[in-house]
Symmetry: C2
Subunit: 200 residues, 2 copies
DNA sequence: ACATTTGTTAACCATTTGGTTAAACTATTT
DNA sequence: AAATAGTTTAACCAAATGGTTAACAAATGT
């Protein structure tokens, strides 16, 4: 009997395995097992490990990009963008804890491949945001700051805790519960910190 | 003719390969090639891939830990610690760009193994630092803040740029040169940002 | 000078791994 | 219902990979 969602099951299983173990560490057999199908089906629907990986990567990138684009392209003020990004991004990543690390890892390991995405239309483009910063400085809302440094601070403060979970939790000696409650606190702390540092 | 530094060469090559590709992606043959020796030598000096990996991991951890310990255990003020850590850590990582990512990645993939290190004596211990923060709050130097959040901010702001280089550079469209000069700027920017946010 | 220990190599081995094939099974079309 | 097209499986394959072996070379101790 045909299961019409086999292809979906494969992708779901692939997402799970690839995001946890990366391209190099993932095993086709493990994906097949997790999807509860024969390994040959992987090649029937996605012809190779590389192709399957690309499907997973694309999915991850497309899930991640809107958060950045909200900052880059919405009509909100800079302060609002910082507040809303922090909140929605932390919530998002708490639901998808392996995603940022996966993206970062595979982009680092595979720069040429990643450039395909950064060159495409779904790729976030910081141009409008840079203009907005310039305008708000002009208007006397913001101190004269470098938009790139602001963005880097924002991404660092929100993402690092999740990318470096193991190291952070090891060094600071945090259990699961403490870590989570700290992340909730950070939804407030981070915007406060950043906005205070840039508001005139 | 015997080369008395073969073992060193192996470790150097292993560091290079493991740090770039991780445990799963590294190949014993590639390490042998980079060390310009026969693959059997790897097993002669380090008996398995796992053991060789552990030597590399230990070396990386021991190179990294002092930076944290300087913050945790030196006699400087909190402000000085922030300033000095940022400067020395960014300089250090610019010389060892693969190290933070390697540590983070392998700790995430191998929590039980990592706990061996976090339980050991070389592992940084935040206790003294927490006490110091409490004291400086008491003395009216600092606002009432959570030391864990301060440390997390410090680590995030300094480390993320290097761990997520590819993603950051892709999103912000930075070339090598711009990235480096931004990192130099951050040696000043980060302490400024953090100190301003905690000084009373 | 000789024996012993240490270092090094080429060839080999077993297992893992991504991928293929041919046959069987299921659904759809005619 | 027969033919056709699509789906699934078990068995298989070749290459890659971590690891071993046996013979050889170099250094070291006696």
């Amino acid at each position: 009997m045909k299961d019409q969602s086999t292809e979906e099951n494969i992708l779901k299983a692939a997402i799970s395995v690839f995001q946890k173990k990366g391209m190099a560490g993932a095993r086709m057999q493990e994906i097949a097992d997790e999807a509860k199908i024969n390994k040959a089906m992987l090649h029937y629907y996605y012809k190779s490990k590389q192709k399957l990986f690309e499907a997973v990567f694309r999915q991850a990138f497309e899930k991640f990009a809107p958060h950045i684009n909200q900052v880059f392209n919405s009509d909100k003020s800079v302060f609002e963008k910082i507040t809303e990004f922090t909140d929605s991004y932390i919530s998002f990543v708490m639901e998808n804890p392996y995603l940022p690390n996966f993206l970062i890892q595979e982009i680092n390991n595979n720069p040429e491949f990643a450039d395909l995405f950064f060159g495409s239309e779904i790729a976030p483009n910081p141009l409008r945001f840079k203009k907005q910063i310039a305008e708000e400085i002009e208007m006397g809302i913001l101190k004269p700051i470098d938009p790139k440094q602001l963005l880097l601070n924002l991404f660092s403060l929100t993402a690092f805790s999740f990318v470096g979970t193991g190291l952070v939790r090891g060094i600071l000696n945090l259990d699961e519960k403490t870590f989570k409650s700290m992340m909730e606190e950070r939804k407030i702390l981070i915007p406060e910190l950043l906005i205070n540092s840039i508001k005139k």
